[in-house]
Point group: C2
């Protein structure tokens, strides 16, 4: 598993001339880092007299953020797998007409799969916005900056994931799939709009 | 060292109710991830016939990005140390007037140090912009999306670092230091402005 690697080894592999791990895994990882910070702010808020009024809300946030953290961690791995599958299809035989046809079909199938992983990452990141907003508003004021970093990571992760959807989309030929992916991208961009700024404003206010 | 940890363990610790590692380390790590992707695009460009015209430029980029990658990886650790030093000063004795005075001084000193680490991170991230722009423009088109993720990470890292400067700045009393830090923040924001968008535009163009 990618997340079982040492950070230093992962960064070395990232920087190397191997195409995996790449930006897709970084997108999922950035999302996981962001949502882990939501959990951290939550965990430094619960059990404290000063924040007992929001205790139940924060517990609910932590339960969601921990679920997302697990899912995004898994998606770092799925991205590598999907990309390697895609690369493998290029090595399929292409001697006969039949082989050529099968190869092209398999390439297209693996491309669609490779586009769906970052799309999942993007949808998961969208869920981090409301969670980071809630910890920014209600969480322990001493770590409110971490709620800000959480939303910055979530937003960068979402946009990174979308770039990865787009680079695959570029080569997908199936018009129905193209339309579906394009409308998902539009939906995500629409839902993303202004979210980061909203959370950062709360963070800035509470840091004053 | 923080970067010697497994990714999964680091994310677990991040999510826990311990204030370190926190957003400061995530800022430096995000910067390291971003600049590692610059190196990756570079490494997948050099040695290829199609890109021999830009070979020397890309080699120069890689040499800078690898240096930054090392520095940002080190800064993940420095952030933890600076924060722990700050926390330790709170535990200094405060029985006598002298002790109280020394304690307040030490708290202030450690706060200034804790603000300087993310400031260093922010300046390093600024350097990633021009490098990611160069690989976005000249690098292997098959991995141009990774140049996009690189700049998104660099930008999120820079803004995350600035939030960490600000949360420390809030408690720093020395007016001279306050002014210096504030003007550094302003300078960084000014230099950051529009950089991410410029690189993303190139990436989008080349993905068409």
């Amino acid at each position: 598993m990618l997340i079982d690697k040492k950070i230093s080894n992962f960064i070395d592999e990232l920087a190397s001339n191997s195409p995996t791990p790449g930006g897709g895994s970084v997108a999922a990882l950035a999302g996981a880092l962001g949502v882990a910070l939501v959990s951290m702010v939550g965990n430094l808020t619960i059990g404290k007299k000063k924040y007992e009024d929001v205790e139940e809300d924060i517990k609910r946030v932590i339960s969601s953020s921990e679920k997302l953290r697990y899912e995004l961690s898994q998606l770092t791995e799925e991205d590598v797998k999907a990309f390697n599958n895609f690369m493998a299809t290029y090595k399929l035989p292409k001697e006969t007409e039949d082989e050529k046809k099968v190869r092209v079909e398999k390439i297209q199938e693996s491309l669609i799969e490779a586009a769906k992983v970052p799309l999942k990452v993007a949808y998961k990141c969208l869920d981090i916005f409301s969670l980071s907003k809630e910890v920014a508003e209600k969480g322990n004021i001493n770590v409110v900056s971490d709620a800000g970093v959480a939303v910055l990571m979530a937003d960068a992760a979402l946009e990174s994931a979308l770039i990865n959807v787009k680079i695959n989309l570029r080569m997908i030929k199936d018009e129905k799939v193209r339309t579906e992916l394009s409308s998902s991208i539009k939906e995500l961009l629409l839902k993303e709009k202004g979210q980061k700024e909203k959370v950062l404003k709360i963070v800035e206010e509470r840091m004053k």
